[in-house]
């Protein structure tokens, strides 16, 4: 029982990372109908920015976080202009491939700039954590859970309580109508990319102390985040979060009780099962094409 609780805690922590990246996926998908295969590299960039700022340049942790967030927002804008905007009127296929190209560019660009050596980032807090009964609460996992919760609340308030959020929602639901109502659609999409990039960057900052920071760290997170968003119901915001958490837990339990080498396969097996029996995911609805 104690072990199960411990695994649940760890699974939720790692699932939160998937959830944050999945959230970025879903927001961009809703705004542009595009699946961004470079979403995981946003996390990689965030983690590297932290390593460079906090470890190599010796800035304070909080200042480094602030600068990283600013960098990620700017990067999101750049990504929109370079990778999505020129292809906005094309079908989904060229855009998917363009984001794959961006992913190769980012990973290998970072490899060329920073070398293949994996880096590590210390945790924000000195205390490793505390035990409560049989469960050890690792500080970094607690931070991950807290930040994820905070981001979910922030996003809820942004979308439901602010005019900007309403405009972003209107844009994602019907671009033509939104632009007729005077909403600057291109700007809303720009903001969406910036926000998603920041979400990805945050996931990177949070996960960096647990994993090594390497150029490939983003792709495996992104694949699982993508799987998570399909399991939750593609395009659904709460689905992305629930899907991410579910996947984190399934993976952790699978590795503990079934097989460690096949740890990365569980996420995809769950995904295949969902695609076979409930392709619309936990929260999604079936939509047909209109003649």
């Amino acid at each position: 029982m104690g072990i199960a609780l411990q695994l649940l805690f760890t699974g939720l922590g790692i699932g939160s990372i998937y959830a944050l990246v999945a959230l970025g996926f879903v927001l961009i998908f809703r705004a542009t109908n595009v699946v961004n295969f470079a979403q995981g590299d946003f996390a990689m960039l965030g983690a590297f920015a932290m390593v460079i700022l906090a470890v190599e340049l010796g800035f304070s942790y909080w200042l480094s976080i602030l600068i990283t967030v600013v960098i990620m927002a700017a990067f999101g804008a750049l990504f929109n202009l370079g990778v999505y905007y020129p292809l906005r009127n094309r079908t989904f296929l060229p855009v998917i491939i363009s984001t794959i190209g961006a992913s190769i560019l980012l990973e290998n660009g970072m490899l060329a700039a920073h070398g293949p050596q994996p880096q590590s980032l210390p945790s924000l807090f000195d205390s490793p954590g505390f035990s409560l009964g049989p469960v050890f609460f690792d500080t970094q996992y607690l931070v991950i859970l807290a930040v994820t919760l905070a981001m979910v609340v922030f996003q809820y308030l942004l979308f439901e309580r602010t005019l900007l959020g309403k405009k972003m929602q209107a844009t994602s639901q019907d671009k033509e109508m939104a632009s007729m109502l005077g909403i600057p659609v291109a700007w809303m999409i720009m903001i969406t990319f910036m926000y998603s990039s920041v979400l990805g960057g945050l996931a990177g900052i949070l996960v960096a102390p647990i994993l090594f920071v390497s150029v490939g760290m983003g792709s495996s997170i992104a694949l699982k985040a993508f799987a998570a968003s399909i399991i939750g119901g593609f395009g659904d915001v709460s689905g992305a979060i629930v899907g991410g958490l579910t996947l984190g837990v399934v993976e952790t339990f699978g590795a503990a009780y079934i097989s460690v080498p096949y740890k990365d396969a569980f996420a995809f097996l769950v995904l295949l099962i969902f695609l076979l029996f409930r392709p619309q995911g936990l929260f999604g609805e079936k939509v047909g094409e209109k003649a």
Binding site: G101, A102, L105, L111, L223, I230
Partner: protein
């Protein structure tokens, strides 16, 4: 007689052109094989060529699935790996011959492709991207971790080659010969009925189904063929390099395969092969870039997508077409279009019978218990104010929507549960309110897909291609045969409508459903449409037409059914129905006048 002779001559000229192309292709292929056999080259060069030819076989699979069918496959390296491990393990662990192992590996790859396709191709789009990535990831894990079978990360060494092709040059020649055959077959596939079905599915899946293409089956076949070619390429790759390991078949390699297809132009086999060669040679030429090579490569992918979305050869093909516009086809000797009609002696009968048909979307009753009958050899109009459920009814009739309740009988059999392509097979043709053509196919191929419908009897006992004759006759009927070779997107809106009608007519429908054929047409085009509809009527074709233009409806309709709020409110001959007080109220609200509604 002389007319007939002249078409035969044109036909021969076209045939001659194709044959000449094939002869040149054969000569080039033979020359390449000869050079591979007799040129002495460093092992390094030979390896690059071997890699190019075996990769190209796998990338040609992507030409089928991505280029022809428009489905993404981010797991081609996995199928390539299945073929490679088939040969490697078959020869080294199980003592089978190279040929048997190759057959086995290719077969397993094709089966895996078919299984993956059968379970997930209904979803398409980004789901398919994800499923292929999942398959890729799981296979990579299995190759690394199932050590007792695959030797794990160490890989499989000393893979033998077939007995007669032990030498490097001989084996390279074999690979090139296989590639030449595969490329030819893939090129040939494009012009077959299956090839047209794949392209139609790519360009407009919904329309392809309604025209008679089993789109799901087409996609599964495309996927299985693609996996098969992946396996075949992988098998030869294993023999060529004598050693394989799991990291050669990772997700990154799948991305490389995809990029190769896109770079050269994945709709043309020659482009695919060129792209493969270019991407394998590029690192050699770009060595001065050193470590940023892969970053440059990622950037290049984005630039290709932005500036040359159809790849290098796609780009060249467009230029070529601009320089040399396609010649018009000689239609002088064409037999007139024959349409399905029933002998007058049989008298009128009910061709389409709709009983208590309902279609609800959540709480909205778009179609709410409609009864309707269409008599053969009549033009039947379905009218009603906006939102009365006309288009929904048509979509239920053609099988795009499943009805919530009720029955549809067509030509004596019940079709309520059939899929759109099955209904097309029964002889139900239709057009769409917002035109749905196959945008990247030319006018003639668009109509050919219509003629390809299952159950369409078009054998006329003449030499040559009856499908093409049928398609040209249908185009001639709507007056567009002289534009047969043009890109369908270059036609005016009005002409595109006519192509859509020709596409339906080529399938020789028993009943033609026309969804607002007059929408968006100007006066001249509308008059031409009325004339066309009247010609169809003279041919005895049964038509069910929706339109808002009462002038048009009055001119062509024998009977009218009126819908309002998803219910049928009137039925009868035009003169009566248009003076029916309920109909007038439905259109104009409550007014005290006897005037007929006019749109």
């Amino acid at each position: 007689m002389s007319e007939l002779a002249s078409t035969t001559v044109t036909k021969k000229r076209v045939k001659g052109k194709v044959a000449a192309g094939s002869v040149i292709y054969l000569l080039v292929a033979l020359a390449a094989i000869f050079l591979a056999l007799h040129t002495s080259m460093p092992a390094y060069t030979r390896n690059l060529l071997m890699q190019t030819s075996t990769y190209a076989i796998a990338v040609l699979g992507l030409t089928i699935v991505l280029g022809y069918t428009g489905q993404i496959n981010l797991g081609q390296a996995a199928f390539f790996g299945l073929g490679a491990y088939g040969v490697a393990l078959g020869t080294t662990s199980f003592g089978l011959s190279f040929g048997t192992s190759l057959l086995l590996g290719t077969g397993i790859a094709a089966l895996a492709g078919a299984a993956l396709g059968l379970t997930t191709l209904r979803l398409g789009g980004h789901y398919l991207a994800m499923v292929t990535i999942s398959f890729q990831t799981i296979l990579s894990l299995v190759l690394t971790n199932w050590i007792s079978l695959t030797h794990g990360p160490d890989g499989v060494p000393s893979i033998p080659r077939p007995v007669r092709f032990q030498g490097g040059n001989a084996y390279l020649a074999l690979c090139i010969a296989v590639l030449a055959v595969v490329a030819y077959l893939v090129w040939w596939l494009r012009r077959t009925k299956l090839g047209r079905a794949l392209q139609a599915t790519r360009d407009n899946e919904l329309a392809a189904g309604v025209v008679g293409v089993d789109t799901f089956q087409s996609k599964v076949i495309a996927f299985a063929l693609s996996a098969l070619l992946g396996g075949l390429g992988g098998g030869f790759f294993a023999g060529g390099f004598a050693y394989i390991s799991p990291d050669q078949f990772s997700f990154n390699e799948s991305v490389v395969f995809l990029t190769m297809a896109l770079l050269g132009g994945c709709r043309l086999p020659v482009g695919t092969v060129f792209g493969t060669g270019l991407l394998i040679m590029l690192p050699e030429w770009l060595r001065f870039l050193k470590i940023i090579y892969l970053a440059v490569y990622g950037g290049a992918v984005i630039l290709i997508m932005v500036f040359m979305p159809d790849g290098i050869f796609g780009y060249l093909a467009v230029l070529w077409r601009r320089l040399r516009p396609a010649a018009a086809i000689d239609t002088a000797g064409l037999a007139p279009l024959r349409l399905s009609q029933q002998a007058a002696s049989e008298g009128a009968r009910t061709l389409l019978k709709v009983t208590e048909l309902t279609k609800h979307f959540g709480g909205v009753k778009a179609v709410d218990g409609v009864d309707m009958a269409v008599q053969s050899n009549t033009v039947h109009a379905l009218i009603g104010p906006n939102g009365s459920g006309k288009t929904t009814l048509l979509n239920v009739l053609s099988g795009i929507y499943r009805p919530t309740g009720g029955r549809v009988e067509f030509d004596g059999s019940e079709i309520t549960q059939l899929k759109p392509f099955q209904r097309a097979g029964h002889g139900l043709g239709r057009t769409f309110q917002n035109i749905r053509l196959f945008g990247d196919m030319n006018v003639l191929d668009n109509v050919r897909v219509g003629a390809d419908r299952p159950g369409n009897v078009i054998e006329d006992g003449l030499a040559g291609d009856p499908v093409e004759r049928r398609a040209l006759a249908a185009l001639e009927f709507v007056g567009l045969a002289n534009r047969a070779q043009e890109a369908v997107g270059s036609l005016s809106y009005g002409h595109q409508r006519l192509v859509e009608i020709a596409r339906a007519l080529a399938g020789n429908p028993k009943l033609l459903l026309l969804d607002e054929p007059g929408a968006g047409l100007n006066h001249v085009e509308k008059d031409a449409l009325v004339a066309l509809l009247q010609r169809l009527k003279e041919h005895g074709l049964t038509v069910l037409i929706i339109d808002h233009d009462m002038r048009l409806v009055e001119q062509v309709a024998d009977r009218i059914t009126v819908l309002n709020f998803g219910r049928h409110i009137a039925d009868g001959i035009p003169a009566e129905v248009l003076r029916n007080p309920d109909v007038i109220v439905a259109y104009l609200g409550k007014v005290n006048t006897n005037a007929a509604p006019r749109a």
